[in-house]
């Protein structure tokens, strides 16, 4: 134990919270993937040394307060309109790195038009899409991404595809647009997956510097509170139910 005490000095440091995140306590529920997704994006920004040149756009949803947590310039967009706001920022300041951070209710429901058109125009922005298959902030209503037969407060008997439509794979849809350059789907529930997410986000920001077009990274995540599970159970449920429908990996990679 004496040895262990001696280890805690700066030259032995291998991991600490990045300075691109503020010290504020996150308001997210215990075990929510948002915290890890935030940190992977912040670490990517930190690694590239672009904290001073990055501008973020926060959505409406659980991550509406993202601007409290990222220590970069940020603004808030009306529900779903983050890609449109990011378009404006990027066009006025093309030398900046611009990202949006959106949930599935924001990006795939009310913001479908803005998302699709920003991607179709190939705006040089990074869109981070956190998909947990439910409306988290408002209390667990069905989202476009809710799985077939998945229960939510507005589909208490499970999502019936006949009347409610099939879950929307918006990332695959986006990947077909000529304006997108790099589209991938990852998760942050295990160390390996979180590290892959960070690598993908870093790559996407590098492509933005090269003005390659829209980069779109989906992070499949959990919602322990609204799925009504413990965080560890929700991660297991996500692996068993979300991943077969939302498979992880690159969807569109640069040729």
């Amino acid at each position: 134990m004496i040895m262990a005490e001696n280890l805690k000095n700066p030259e032995n440091l291998v991991y600490e919270k990045t300075k691109v995140l503020t010290d504020r306590v996150l308001h997210y529920c215990p075990g929510c993937g948002h915290g890890t997704a935030h940190r992977m994006l912040a670490e990517a920004i930190d690694d590239l040394g672009i904290q001073e040149e990055t501008i973020g756009v926060a959505p409406v949803g659980c991550s509406v307060l993202a601007y409290y947590y990222f220590d970069v310039d940020m603004t808030e967009a009306a529900h779903g309109r983050a890609p449109a706001v990011a378009t404006g920022i990027k066009r006025v300041m093309p030398e900046k790195y611009v990202f949006t951070y959106q949930g599935d209710g924001d990006l795939a429901a009310i913001g479908t038009a803005e998302t699709i058109h920003a991607c179709n125009r190939g705006e040089n922005i990074l869109i981070v899409f956190v998909n947990n298959g439910i409306y988290g902030m408002t209390g667990g209503q069905m989202a476009p991404t809710t799985l077939e037969n998945m229960k939510s407060t507005t589909s208490p008997r499970g999502r019936d595809v006949k009347t409610m439509g099939a879950p929307l794979k918006i990332t695959e849809l986006i990947a077909q647009l000529p304006g997108t350059y790099y589209v991938a789907r990852h998760s942050v529930h295990t160390p390996a997956n979180a590290r892959k997410t960070k690598r993908a986000l870093k790559k996407a920001l590098e492509y933005q510097k090269e003005e390659k077009g829209t980069c779109f990274i989906e992070v499949v995540s959990n919602c322990p509170s609204n799925w009504k599970m413990t965080p560890v159970e929700s991660n297991k449920w996500m692996e068993e139910n979300m991943f077969p429908f939302y498979p992880l990996g690159d969807i569109k990679v640069p040729q």
């Binding site: 262990a4 032995n12 997210y28």
Partner: protein, 71 residues
């Protein structure tokens, strides 16, 4: 032999989600009996098998874990 590592946990920011426990390959972490001022059980180190792999810190949603490893 694997290098020795150590973790420092900010117990007041921990929300007791237990994601770090399943991420640790050496079963170093467990939940405390006590609770912090918000009423959450928090992660604690229960043995000295830590190798400083940082897996726990990478998956911690609240970034409460700092990791050290001998050089």
């Amino acid at each position: 032999m694997a290098k020795k590592g150590d973790v420092v946990i900010q117990i007041e920011k921990c929300k007791g989600c237990e994601v770090c426990i399943s991420a640790c390959p050496h079963e170093v972490l467990a939940m405390s009996e006590e609770v912090n001022s918000k009423g959450y059980h928090y992660a604690v180190k229960v043995n000295s098998a830590c190798t400083g792999c940082a897996n726990c810190a990478v998956v911690c949603p609240d970034a409460v874990i700092t990791v050290y490893r001998e050089k």
